[in-house]
Structures are given as C-alpha cells and as structure tokens.
Amino acid sequence: MLAANFLLLAAVIFCIGVYGVVARRNAVLVLMSVELILNSVNLNLVAFAVMNGTIDGQVFALFVIAIAAAEVGVGLAMVLMVYRNRHSISLDELSEMKG
C-alpha cells in the first residue's frame, strides 16, 4: 500500500474541515469541523511514523489527541457561556469587537 494514500486521504478530510469552518454559522458545527482538521493531521502523523519506521509520529499523534480533547472542553464551555448570555450560538452575531 502506498503510504501516500494516507496523505491524500488526510488532505481530503482537511479540506472538508476547512470548508466546514468557512461555511458554518453554528458554533458547535464549527468545532466539529475543527475536529475533522485535527484528525486529518493525526492521520498524516501516523503515516509519517510508518514511512520513517520510527515511533515518534505516533507519540505526536497522541499529543494531538490530548490537546484536541482539551480544546473541545474549553471550546464547548465558551459556546455554553455565549449561549447563556445571548441565547444564540450564531457566530456572525458576535461582532462587538469589529473595528
């Protein structure tokens, strides 16, 4: 199996995640798209571990998994706070800080 298959699959998932971040207005759906992006990067790291024949890529993937868990926890807490204050989680209504 060509290890480049992993890289191409990860590229497809990454681009779908980027589209989700650009297109979605619901904050929870944007966080899900970020999860797609993080998973595609993990797939790349594991594929690099296979190519190099070392374990370092898998260790990096485990680091990314842990960071993603922390990111989802804090992100969803922020979404809950925004919902409690504004009764909406539409991201384009959060425009107080525009210049």
């Binding site: 480049a4 298959n5 699959l9 929870v28 798209s33 370092d56 993937a61 922390a70 809950l80």
Partner: protein, 183 residues
C-alpha cells in the same frame, strides 16, 4: 530464492486486502465527512462525525498503530462525542433540522476548499518519490507497533512535553469549569 518470491507474493496478497480495506474505509470517511459539513441537523452532524472518527481509528490499525487507534476510540468516540452531544443538548438545537446553520457566504468555502486540496495534492504527489519507504512492503513488514516503544518515548525524549501536556489538561479542565458554571 523461492522463499523470497513466496514472501513477496504473500506480501502482495496482504497488500491487496489492505488496499481494498483502505479504499472502503476511506470512501466511508469522505462521505461521512461531507455529511458532517452539509447536513442541517446538528445531531446528525455529530453522528456522522462518529463515523469519521471510527474510520480514522480503522486507518490507524491498517497503519499498524494499535495504541493510537485505541486512544482514538477512547478519547474521541468515548469522551469528545459525549461532550459534543451535551453541548448540542444544552444549546437547544432544533430537532429535525435548522434553517440557518450556514453563513450567507457559505458558497465561498467550496472554491477555497477545492483550491486548498489542489495545492495539497500537488505537494503530496510531487514529493512522493522522495519520501522514504513508500514501497509496498513497508507496512506489512513492520508488524504491530510496540506499546513499549511509545511509553519509552513518553518517559524518555518526550518527558518535558508530556509533563507540560498534563498541565495543559489540568488548566483546560479548571478553565472549562470556571467558564461553564453558573455563579
């Protein structure tokens, strides 16, 4: 000589099965990922995301990374998806679809994503000849990745990042509680 030929044939057979498995799982993942970013129902998007995450775990097993695959199932499908479902429930998404989950400029995301994929695919395919170990036997020959090696990495050369990561997780847990509690 004959054993070499036999082993090459055996490896080839395994690789056919591996390639078919990779293709089927990859197709499932791509379809599910497109549904995640295209469905109007937030709960359905979360459930399609479970399919993507399970496919990623299956790809890890194909790449002989069992420990990462198990971690993926435990952390993502077990913990992160529960967090997402709680977040959806607490923000009271409409059951059965919502009209305004997309931005008004959502169509701009399609050329952006296609352009990005073009650049990424060109970079991968252009550099694939220079990558080490992209021949057909590399994955099959290595066997399962030893968990011992991963743990040696964590408490050896990656000890300081590992400790820093534990502090990040602690800070994230405390921060999430502080942000989300009612006071």
């Amino acid at each position: 000589m004959s054993t070499t030929v036999a082993s090459i044939v055996a490896v080839g057979d395994i690789n056919v099965a591996q390639n078919v498995g990779f293709g089927v799982i990859a197709l499932m993942m791509i379809v599910a990922a497109i549904r995640v970013v295209s469905t109007n129902d937030v709960v359905h998007a979360a459930l399609w995301l479970v399919l993507v995450l399970a496919g990623v775990a299956a790809q890890y097993i194909l790449a002989a990374a069992e420990f990462v695959a198990v971690s993926q199932v435990l952390v993502y499908i077990g913990a992160v998806m529960v967090l997402f479902l709680f977040g959806i429930m607490l923000t009271r998404a409409q059951i059965g679809g919502d009209r305004d989950v997309n931005n008004s400029t959502w169509a701009l995301g399609i050329p952006a994503a296609v352009l990005l994929f073009g650049v990424l695919a060109w970079a991968v395919l252009d550099g694939v000849d220079e990558l080490p170990g992209v021949d057909d036997s590399v994955i099959v020959d290595r066997g399962p990745a030893p968990t011992v090696a991963i743990s040696d990495g964590f408490i050896g050369p990656y000890l300081v990042p590992f400790l820093a990561l534990s502090f990040v997780l602690l800070a994230a847990a405390i921060g999430a509680i502080v942000l989300a509690r009612k006071d």
